[in-house]
């Protein structure tokens, strides 16, 4: 059974997933920086 080639939007979703997988620890670090910045008052209260 022949598989179809990936279309562009699906290819870009794969790219986004690969990027996120490679930056797993970066996500952790960014979140840690945000938390520390909020706790020490370096970031103003964040509204929603």
């Amino acid at each position: 059974m022949t598989s179809p080639p990936l279309e562009e939007s699906a290819r870009e979703r794969v790219r986004a997933t690969r990027l996120a997988l490679s930056l797993d620890t970066v996500a952790l670090l960014v979140a840690a920086v945000v938390v520390v910045a909020i706790v020490v008052g370096a970031l103003p209260p964040v509204p929603w």
Binding site: M1, T2, S3, P4, P5, L6, E7, E8, S9, A10, E12, R13, V14, R15, A16, T17, R18, L19, A20, L21, L23, D24, T25, V26, A27, L28, V30, A31, A32, V34, V35, I38, V39, L43, P45, V46, P47, W48
Partner: protein, 367 residues
């Protein structure tokens, strides 16, 4: 002399390259923010309009608008050459998703997290076994190859595209099979995102029960978060937790598949198995659990907790905009009916199985 001068000439070049790469993501991130923020404004404006005109308008969540605006922009301009300037930044949306999940931990009391986590893990194990069995049965019926079957089973039972990518190298699957499995999982995810909240409302499911169901049955984490948020804020919280428990199993499932194919090929899996599982484990889960623990011991003031939870919401907003911008129904159609058909039939069965599991668990132990 040249050996000494070489680093001094290459260092600025490396810095420039790094700066250029960092700058290349800015337009796309600005677009993600603009689309997400427009969705938030649309929700607020609709509420204000209904209030001002004493009209009962349906409460349409910002997540719906963000995805809709993303879809419209993506379909209208996504194929244009000038739109490529946004690609690098749009590709960061899964990173925002992970940051959002870590920060979401602050909204879980640890005891609740532990209870829901244990129930989720038990359901996840049942879901993985059931989903894999269903996908294998349908794939055999459609005459798919063994590796493609394995990729589809892993994608539908664990965590969508990232699981397929992780499994591709481990079982030595070829690019065509991987493309087929990814196309199938993406097509189903886009449709499930819209259908699940409708079914949940029709069955009058509680926020928790719906969250558990979405977390168990939808394959990609971004779509899980979006479907949950379309239902309610609490449903989104629970859906992401259950999906995170599912994602945590990725190493075991991929290792199982790798061992199976290696044994059939008369080989073994080289290296330590625990190191293999660790390499596939999503590390950001530790941040999620740590924040829940810190919040439970009141390490944060209420104002700090609110701010951290709000940053999580903003991060999810960028993710939802990315889902809209990166879903193209025209391309899904051109991808062919077969990936969709094989995946869709199996996923309907998986959705029914997980729905039964959730409703039974809710009745027996209360979710």
């Amino acid at each position: 002399m040249s050996a000494v001068s070489a680093p001094s000439t290459s260092a600025p070049s490396t810095t420039r390259h790094g700066l250029a790469r960092a700058a290349s993501v800015v337009p796309g991130i600005v677009l993600l923010f603009a689309v997400g923020f427009a969705g938030k404004l649309a929700e607020q404006e609709m509420k204000a309009f209904g209030k001002a005109h004493h009209t009962a308008l349906p409460n349409i969540e910002y997540v719906f608008w963000a995805i809709l605006f993303g879809l419209v922009i993506g379909h209208a301009f996504g194929a244009r050459a000038w739109f490529r300037v946004f690609d690098a930044g749009i590709a960061t949306y899964e990173l925002w998703l992970k940051i959002g999940i870590v920060l979401l931990g602050v909204r879980f009391v640890f005891a609740d997290l532990a209870k829901l986590g244990v129930v989720s893990l038990a359901l996840v194990v049942l879901e993985i076994v059931g989903a894999a069995a269903i996908m294998v049965a349908f794939a055999r019926a459609f005459g798919l190859g063994q590796k493609l079957t394995a990729l589809l089973a892993i994608g539908s039972s664990v965590c969508g595209v990232s699981a397929i990518i992780a499994a591709q190298g481990a079982i030595d699957a070829d690019e065509d099979d991987t493309a087929f499995a990814i196309a199938s999982i993406l097509a189903i995810g886009a449709i499930g995102l819209g259908l699940f909240p409708l079914v949940g409302h029709a069955l009058h499911m509680s926020d928790r029960a719906f969250g558990v169901w979405a977390g168990l049955a939808i394959d990609n984490t971004a779509e899980v978060a979006a479907a949950g948020a379309l239902y309610s804020d609490d449903a989104a919280k629970v859906a992401v937790l259950v999906k995170t428990a599912r994602n945590a199993m990725i190493g075991f499932v991929v290792l199982g598949a790798a061992l199976w194919f290696a044994t059939r090929g008369g080989r073994g899996v080289s290296g330590s198995k625990s190191a293999f599982v660790w390499s596939k484990f999503p590390k950001f889960v530790f941040g999620f659990v740590a924040l829940s623990l810190l919040a439970s011991v009141r390490a944060f003031t209420p104002a700090q907790t609110t701010s951290i939870a709000n940053v999580s919401r903003w991060a999810f907003l960028l993710t939802f905009a990315g889902v809209g911008l990166r879903t193209n129904f025209g391309e899904l159609k051109r991808q062919g009916l077969r990936p969709f058909a094989v995946g869709a039939i199996a996923e309907v069965a998986i959705a029914a199985l997980t729905l039964g599991l959730v409703l039974a668990s809710d009745r027996v132990i209360g979710l």
